[in-house]
C-alpha cells in the first residue's frame, strides 16, 4: 500500500481463538488503584508460549 502503514493487524479478532484462560493480571494490582486500564496489560499465555498471535 502506498499511503498506509499498518502498525498493528487484527489482533483483537485473532485473540478470539485463544482467549479466556484467565491467567492474566488483575488490572488494579499493578500501579493503578483508582482508574481502570486493561489495554496496557500483557497476555499471560502469550508470555508463557513465546507468542502465538500473528500480527
Amino acid at each position: 500500500m502506498k499511503r498506509v502503514k499498518t502498525v498493528n493487524g487484527s489482533t483483537l479478532k485473532q485473540s478470539l481463538k485463544r482467549g479466556g484462560c484467565g491467567e492474566c493480571q488483575t488490572s488494579c494490582q499493578s500501579a493503578c488503584k483508582t482508574s481502570c486500564t486493561v489495554g496496557n496489560q500483557t497476555c499471560e499465555s502469550i508470555k508463557l508460549t513465546g507468542g502465538t498471535v500473528r500480527k
Partner: protein
C-alpha cells in the same frame, strides 16, 4: 467503528473491532473520514460520488490511490470491520469465575494524613485496625480454595500503610510460600507503601519477596508536601525520596512503580511526571484524583482542555527523551498492541467483585479496595466465603456491553468499561460512567497510540 485523530504530526486510524491500527497520509485520512460518514456499503458502490467533497483538495488520482488502499484494508478485515463480540457478552455474565486476586488491607491505619485519601487516612469509614496474622492466613487459604485451576494468584498488601503491620506481612509471605508448595500455586505479592517506615532491612526483604512494589509519591516537592503531610502538618517528601531512589536501584529499575495522584492544585502534572523521571525513576504512574465535587482539589470538566494538553506534552517529551536514550515508562501510556489482553479480558474488565476482592482487617470481603467499609457491599468473609451471591452476580454482569454509555465509545476495548467503584461513586450505578475519567482515559489512549505509531 473507526476512530481517527492527528497528534504530533501522526495521522492515526484505529479500526475498533479488529484492533488494527494504521498510520495514513492526509488523503487516506480524509477519505476514511468521508466513508465513515456515509458508510462503507454506500461508499464502495460509487466512491467518487461519495468522495466528491474532496475534489477541491486532492486530485482524482490521489483519491483513487487512497480508495485502493482502503479497499484492501477492508477486504483484509482491518478497516470498517463489524462487531463480532456482541453475542459473547451474556456468556461472560453467566460464566463461573474463580478468585485470582486479593487486596489485603493489613493496616487500616496510616502515618500520613494525605488530603485526598479515599481511605480517609486509613480508616475506611470505620475504626483504626490491624489485620491479625490469623485473618491473613485465612485470607490466603480462601484465595487458594476459590482459585480453581488458576495457577498465578495475586496478593496486594495495602492499607492505610501496610508497613505499620510489618510482622504480619512477613508471616503471610512465608505462609504463602508454604501454600504454593502444597497446592501448586504461584503467589505474586505486591506491597504499596508511603515509604515512611522503609529501612534497609525492609527494602532488602521487599526486593527479595515482592513481585511489585508501589511507592507513593506525587512529584515535585511542593506538590507532594501539600497533599501528603505528616500528622504534625509537615511535608513528607524529604522523608521518603532517597529511600524510594534506593528501592528503585535495588530492583534494577524494574518491577516497581512510583505512583502519585494529581489534583486541581497541580493541573500542570506533566511537570510532576518529568520531575520523577529527572530524579532517576524509570517506572512512573501518576493518576487523576477521584474526589467528590465539594472538594476544592477535585478535577472539574472545565479543567479537561488543560489536562489533555498536559498528556500530549508528556507524550512528546517522552518520545524526545527516548530518542536521547533517556526514556522511561508511564503506566497509562503503556500499550502492547500485538500481545495485549485477549478480547474476553477486554470485555469483562478489572474483575472486581468476582475475580478480585478486598479483605478488611476483620476478614470481611468487599468487591475491591474502594468499596471497603461500605456495608451494602460487604460480600461475606474469608471464613464463611462469599455469602452475597447477588452482589457477585451484579459485578460479574458488568461488562463493556452492559454499559449504555460505552456502546458508541471507541476506547471501550482498552478501558473495558472503566472502574466499577468510580461508576458507583459518580453515577450510583455499576453500569454507569464517570464521564470526566472517560475523557481523560480517551486522551491517554490517543497518546499511547500516537507513541506506538510514531515509533513504528
Amino acid at each position: 467503528m473507526i476512530h481517527q485523530f492527528k497528534q504530533n504530526g501522526v495521522n492515526v486510524v484505529l479500526d475498533v473491532y479488529s484492533g488494527a491500527v494504521h498510520t495514513v497520509d492526509d488523503v487516506v485520512y480524509d477519505v476514511v473520514s468521508e466513508i465513515d460518514r456515509v458508510g462503507w456499503e454506500v461508499a464502495k458502490k460509487d466512491s467518487f460520488a461519495c468522495l466528491s467533497s474532496l475534489d477541491n483538495t486532492y486530485s482524482r488520482q490521489d483519491i483513487q490511490e487512497a480508495m485502493d488502499d482502503v479497499t484492501e484494508l477492508v477486504e483484509e478485515g482491518m478497516l470498517f470491520s463489524s462487531d463480532p463480540y456482541v453475542d459473547m457478552a451474556p456468556a461472560i455474565g453467566n460464566k463461573e469465575t474463580v478468585v485470582k486476586a486479593l487486596c489485603l488491607h493489613v493496616a487500616h491505619d496510616c502515618n500520613l494524613k494525605c488530603r485526598y485519601c479515599f481511605a480517609e487516612e486509613g480508616e475506611y469509614h470505620g475504626k483504626r485496625a490491624l489485620m491479625s496474622a490469623e485473618v491473613g492466613r485465612q485470607a490466603l487459604e480462601f484465595l487458594v480454595a476459590n482459585s480453581g485451576k488458576r495457577r498465578n494468584l495475586e496478593v496486594d498488601f495495602f492499607g492505610g500503610e501496610p508497613l505499620m503491620n510489618w510482622d504480619v506481612v512477613r508471616e503471610l509471605v512465608a505462609y504463602g510460600r508454604e501454600l504454593e508448595q502444597s497446592h501448586h500455586k504461584k503467589f505474586r505479592f505486591t506491597l504499596t507503601t508511603n515509604g515512611i517506615l522503609l529501612n534497609d532491612e525492609i527494602m532488602d526483604y521487599l526486593n527479595a519477596n515482592m513481585d511489585n512494589v508501589v511507592l507513593s509519591i506525587d512529584g515535585r516537592q511542593e506538590v507532594h508536601d501539600r497533599m501528603r503531610p505528616t500528622p504534625n502538618g509537615k511535608g513528607s517528601y524529604d522523608l521518603i525520596l532517597d529511600k524510594f531512589k534506593r528501592m528503585a536501584e535495588l530492583r534494577g529499575q524494574t518491577r516497581y512503580y512510583v505512583r502519585g495522584t494529581f489534583t486541581r492544585e497541580n493541573l500542570d502534572f506533566a511537570k510532576d511526571v518529568l520531575h520523577l523521571a529527572d530524579e532517576g525513576f524509570q517506572q512512573i504512574s501518576i493518576e487523576p484524583v477521584v474526589a467528590g465535587d465539594k472538594e476544592t482539589y477535585a478535577l472539574r470538566e472545565e479543567d479537561l482542555p488543560k489536562l489533555e494538553e498536559q498528556y500530549e506534552l508528556l507524550a512528546r517529551e517522552m518520545l524526545a527523551r527516548e530518542a536521547r536514550g533517556d526514556g522511561f515508562t508511564f503506566f497509562h501510556f503503556m500499550m502492547d498492541l500485538s500481545q495485549g489482553p485477549c478480547i474476553v479480558k477486554r470485555l469483562s474488565g478489572c474483575g472486581s467483585g468476582c475475580e478480585y476482592l478486598a479483605v478488611h482487617p476483620s476478614g470481611d470481603l468487599y468487591p475491591c479496595h474502594q468499596f471497603v467499609g461500605q456495608e451494602e457491599f460487604r460480600m461475606g468473609s474469608v471464613l464463611e466465603g462469599v455469602t452475597r451471591r447477588d452482589l457477585l452476580d451484579r459485578f460479574k454482569g458488568v461488562n463493556v456491553y452492559s454499559k449504555p454509555g460505552c456502546q458508541d465509545c471507541w476506547a471501550k476495548f482498552y478501558c473495558s468499561g472503566g472502574c466499577a467503584a468510580n461508576a458507583w461513586q459518580f453515577a450510583h450505578d455499576l453500569h454507569g460512567n464517570y464521564e470526566l475519567s472517560c475523557h481523560l482515559e480517551r486522551k491517554r489512549l490517543e497518546c499511547a497510540l500516537m507513541m506506538q505509531c510514531y515509533r513504528a
